[in-house]
């Protein structure tokens, strides 16, 4: 071998070594996702827990969890903030979702633009609740299945009996030999079909939209979208304003990028928010706002094989469907509030600073329109209506007696408006308060020549419908903290059907884990009690025990 070949081999080896190292340090493997079930009915709620290492949590603590199919069809996604290394939430499975195999994946936003996006996704078999009988199903080939869990881990799981009657109380004792960090205990009915196909599947994924930045989401989340014109051509350099009506109102801006993209970061916003986005330009162009979903999609379509179900598998599914039907007839409560929204203000004062004066029209005689209100109550505000052309000017506090040449920033329920005629019909009874700021205010690099902020009693913002370039969206923010109903179940009313499939699902510290108790439901078959988690050496393990319900 000559020296040249030797050098080439050396370079190749060194390169290969670095390549291998980068794979072992793969960021994507740091999140560990657990779901409370491996199968469900359409319309059900699947609960998840994601374990986030402390090293990541310091800079990023918001997890995105998505449910998708074998193709690139996103079905549902949620954003959840982790606390004490765990993000716990739920994904709603649509009522109309067809029977098939689906996947739950968890990721953090800073991962989205990594070159290697190899993720582990949890398989979820969904049975459509309107089907009468399921006899075959398209299931993914087992070659992408991941088995990297130590199943021979030394844990003693002892139940007080081996065979139980339905609704009986089960007591389980545990014993650990090795030091363990986190333990997730689950007790659930075993689906004969899921038994073969549950677990983690490895997929190569790619970001749904490359324009979304890989911004580390700490305590908040990104909202992304595009500004387009009537022909859906992206518009760059357009000022996009985002507002949320509230006390105090929220405001932010973004200058659209070359592909018309814009992004906002909402901190500590939980629930469902009504956000108002408007595109501003110096000309008369009409713009449209398109929201962009932030998720990962599979790099290639997955090949599935049709599996003919056995009689036992098919009958189990039929029992579930029937049980689900009866359960829905009698179950009325839904713990999840759909209209909940909470976003604590970042600072004690509104974004426009402390007002020079706050006027409460309720404290004065009723005035019929804004012209009268400005004349009688708003000192230093000049409201002029000349042949329908309304102008508003604000006195400048820092110049003795002078008015700003430009109009102030006008806000209606915290939303910037540029059409003064919206004020004209407002009377005293409509208005909660009026904030006046008679100074030049700076927000980022925007400057406002005074502020006139009118807060109405009616926060529905119906007037937005008639305005051009202003769009209102309802967006899902961080999912509020809640826990599955079945965790609070101690004893079920015996006159109603109990079709719970999961009986116990909780993270417990290993040192306090000695004994657990739960009640079985009316479902019969095998119940698996599993213990999953990580050892002190960060090694995944799983152990389980099966009991029988007759």
């Amino acid at each position: 071998m000559n020296s040249k070949s030797f050098i080439y081999i050396l370079i190749f080896l060194v390169f290969g070594h670095f390549n291998a190292s980068s794979q072992t340090l793969n960021y994507t493997s740091d999140l560990v996702l657990f779901t409370d079930r491996d199968f469900c009915m359409s319309g059900d709620t699947v609960w998840f827990k994601v374990c986030l290492p402390d090293s990541i949590q310091q800079k990023e603590n918001v997890i995105r969890v998505q449910l998708d199919g074998k193709g690139n069809n996103l079905i549902s996604n949620v954003i959840k903030k982790a606390e004490n290394s765990w993000a716990e939430g739920f994904i709603s499975v649509p009522d109309s979702l067809s029977t098939g195999q689906y996947f739950v994946t968890a990721f953090i936003n800073s991962q989205r633009n990594l070159s290697d996006l190899t993720f582990k996704s949890k398989s979820l078999l969904v049975y459509n609740r309107f089907e009468e009988r399921v006899s075959e199903m398209d299931l993914l080939a087992r070659d992408s299945f991941v088995e990297n869990i130590d199943r021979n881990f030394d844990i003693k799981i002892e139940s007080n009996k081996e065979k139980y009657a339905s609704r009986e109380k089960v007591t389980v004792n545990f014993g650990f030999e090795e030091e363990i960090n986190n333990v997730l205990v689950r007790a659930s009915i075993v689906d004969p079909l899921t038994k073969e196909f549950s677990g983690d599947y490895k997929f190569k994924l790619k970001p749904s939209n490359n324009l979304i930045p890989d911004f580390a989401e700490k305590d908040g989340f990104l909202i992304s979208g595009r500004v387009v014109d009537a022909e859906r051509i992206p518009q760059k350099g357009v000022l996009v304003l985002m507002s949320i009506t509230g006390e105090p109102p929220y405001f932010d801006y973004y200058l659209s990028g070359k592909d018309g993209d814009f992004h906002f970061f909402l901190k500590n916003a939980f629930g469902k928010a009504n956000i108002v986005i408007q595109a501003i330009s110096g000309n008369q162009n009409e713009y449209f706002i398109e929201q962009e979903a932030n998720y990962l999609e599979k790099q290639c379509e997955l090949s599935a094989q049709t599996k003919i179900l056995t009689l036992i598998q098919s009958e189990f599914i039929s029992t579930l469907i029937k049980g689900n039907f009866i359960d829905r007839l009698f179950r009325s409560s839904n713990l999840i509030q759909t209209e909940y929204f909470e976003m604590p203000p970042r600072f004690g004062v509104p974004f426009y600073g402390p007002p020079t004066e706050r006027v409460l029209p309720d404290e004065f005689i009723d005035l019929p329109n804004f012209n009268e209100i400005s004349k009688e109550l708003l000192f230093g505000v000049q409201y002029r209506n000349r042949k329908g052309n309304i102008t508003i000017r604000m006195i400048n506090d820092s110049q003795s007696g002078g008015f700003f040449i430009n109009e102030p920033l006008r806000l209606l329920n915290g939303i910037p408006i540029f059409n003064n005629s919206l004020f004209s019909t407002l009377n005293s009874k409509d208005i909660n308060y009026i904030d006046i700021v008679q100074k030049e205010r700076i927000f980022g690099v925007l400057s406002f020549k005074g502020i006139l902020a009118v807060s109405l009693h009616d926060k529905s913002n119906i007037w937005l419908n008639q305005q051009a370039n202003i769009f209102q969206f309802k967006i899902n923010c961080l999912q509020p903290g809640t826990e599955p109903e079945y965790l609070s179940v101690k004893e079920i009313n015996k006159s109603t059907l109990d079709s719970r499939q999961v009986y116990y699902w909780e993270v417990i510290k290993s040192d306090s884990l000695k004994e657990i108790e739960f009640f079985l439901s009316d479902l019969k078959g095998e119940v698996e009690i599993s213990v999953e988690g990580m050892t002190a050496k960060n090694k995944m393990f799983r152990a389980s025990k099966t009991i029988e319900v007759k």
């Binding site: 970042r346 600072f347 974004f351 700076i442």
Partner: protein
């Protein structure tokens, strides 16, 4: 000619109508660029008029300093150009992308700020200022320079005050009757006891901590402490803290 005039009038009328129908935002954003798209949040404040007098006499720093500002919600802004306005206790920032260039950062959102000073030796010295509620005379939030932070803190308050003097000609030849003088006040601060004023004398330390008169005298004598500047005050404070006299 008449036809030409009609056309000209028509064109002007169209242009005028386009101009008047255009979306008039009435706030300035011509210099807005992608660098201003800070996702975590934006700094806010109000316009500051930096007159010749204020530029010459009102600031602690003669030039704009690179600072990092931490807001009360934990958001940190790096490399912000600031000068501390000791005449009025405010933080003034310079941003060339704002039409007015200068603005006063809202005090109610600031938690602390740090200025990095490059010494002649090339070393970088960090000066940390914290915002605290002062409960003495002229109550309110104030920026204090934190000289030492241990069991208790040693704080310094810069304050430029206007003093009427006999008429004099300044450097530009303008006759003035006001001088702007810097007043420096040291404070011992603890979360539970609040502020205690300290002078640059050993006696002041003994008066502030009367139960340790002997120990203070001994420590100062052993370490040959003479109090004349920030450095010596910090050194003295540190020695007292290490000896457990500040608990």
């Amino acid at each position: 000619m008449k036809v030409k005039k009609t056309y000209l009038f028509f064109i002007i009328a169209i242009l005028f109508s386009v101009y008047s129908n255009g979306q008039n935002t009435d706030f300035y954003w011509v210099k807005l660029n992608k660098n201003a798209n800070r996702l975590q949040g934006k700094l806010r404040g109000e316009y500051y008029f930096n007159s010749l007098v204020s530029n010459s006499y009102f600031f602690l720093h003669k030039d704009w300093q690179d600072a990092s500002i931490t807001l009360i919600d934990g958001d940190v802004f790096e490399n912000i150009k600031i000068r501390y306005l000791a005449y009025g206790d405010e933080l003034i920032s310079y941003n060339e992308n704002i039409r007015s260039y200068f603005y006063m950062i809202d005090k109610n959102i600031v938690k602390e700020f740090s200025i990095k000073e490059v010494l002649n030796s090339g070393e970088i010295k960090e000066h940390k200022f914290v915002k605290l509620y002062f409960d003495g005379i002229l109550k309110g939030d104030r920026y204090f320079k934190e000289l030492y932070s241990g069991t208790n803190s040693l704080l310094l308050y810069y304050n430029i005050r206007a003093t009427k003097v006999r008429q004099f000609k300044d450097k530009s030849g303008i006759i003035r009757d006001t001088e702007y003088r810097m007043h420096i006040t040291y404070y011992l601060h603890s979360d539970d006891k609040g502020f205690s004023k300290l002078n640059k004398t050993k006696r002041s330390f003994r008066r502030t901590l009367p139960e340790y008169k002997k120990e203070i005298r001994k420590i100062f004598r052993q370490n040959k402490i003479s109090l004349y500047d920030e450095k010596s005050m910090t050194q003295a404070f540190k020695l007292l803290d290490e000896a457990g006299l500040l608990q």
